[in-house]
């Protein structure tokens, strides 16, 4: 079977790029795109951080050479012929996405309450409900105060209010490569202006959040 990492602009080769389980990363080019994969007799896929970083390492190595559409972790196909079919079948969509994402990267922002107490032990239902409602309310406020100004610096953005326990807001931003520093400065300014919040920013990532169904 083959494991897939990304679809990219046509590339000549992926020399020196190492994938999961130390396998060599290879390219199949067809119809104006390339698919980056590694071949495996057997591959045990779990959501282990080392495996996730290995996938990400390949995507980042390719990203340094071309525009990439990162694949979701865990994507496998039977063989190279199946990959050719998949690439040919999605040619138009992948071509359009590559064009829109060229020269842009994704930045991730996460906002948590800097002062919130530890979650109470389960059992107190009304307390839990009150906490969840407060998180939603603070998350919507963070959406106005943090997400909105950052979204203005981005070609596209996505946000989720209270996506997980303890997190007020999660945002993803598609930013021109040359604008990354400016975006990071804005994050620091917003952090300074909101000491009650803890604002973190990671990236640049490949545009994982902007390859969906034309949402970006």
């Amino acid at each position: 079977m083959i494991y897939l990492y990304a679809i990219t602009e046509p590339l000549d080769g992926a020399a020196g790029v190492t994938g999961l389980a130390g396998a060599r990363v290879e390219l199949l080019s067809t119809g104006g795109v390339s698919g980056a994969y590694s071949a495996h007799e057997e591959l045990e896929l779990t959501a282990d951080p080392d495996l996730l970083w290995a996938h990400e390492g390949v995507v980042e190595a390719l990203m340094a050479r071309a525009t990439v559409l990162p694949l979701r972790f865990g994507t496998t196909l039977a063989d190279v012929a199946a990959l050719r079919d998949a690439l040919d079948g999605g040619r138009e969509r992948y071509g359009e996405l590559l064009q829109r994402l060229r020269g842009r990267v994704e930045l991730a922002v996460r906002v948590v309450d800097a002062s919130s107490p530890e979650p109470e032990s389960p059992g107190d239902g009304s307390r839990y409900l009150a906490d969840r409602l407060a998180t939603r309310r603070e998350g919507r406020l963070a959406e106005e105060q943090i997400h909105a100004p950052l979204a203005r610096l981005a070609a596209a953005s996505e946000s989720a209010v209270a996506p997980a326990a303890g997190t007020l807001l999660r945002g993803a931003y598609l930013v021109e490569t040359g604008e990354v520093d400016r975006f990071a400065r804005r994050v620091r300014e917003l952090q300074s202006g909101h000491p009650d919040l803890q604002v973190s920013c990671t990236g640049p990532w490949a545009p994982y959040s902007f390859v969906g169904n034309g949402s970006a």
Partner: protein
């Protein structure tokens, strides 16, 4: 940068990585082989991590580096 700040940055990067690789990215229909149970396990682990990191920061405890 203190050890606890470095550790926290690594933890945040891992959480953002998990969000991206498991929840987004191009999907080729029907080819995801990853077991859902594994994803749940990672998320539970990371949520615990977030709250323990927040607690450690308040108390000024340095966290071990990965």
């Amino acid at each position: 940068m203190t050890a606890s700040e470095v550790a926290r940055q690594q933890d945040v990067a891992l959480i953002d990585l998990v969000d991206r690789l498991l929840d987004s990215g191009v999907v080729l229909a029907g080819d995801i082989t990853l077991a859902v149970a594994d994803i749940d396990l990672v998320y539970v682990g990371l949520r615990a991590l977030i709250s323990s990191v927040a607690a450690a920061e308040r108390e000024g405890v340095a966290l071990p580096l990965r």
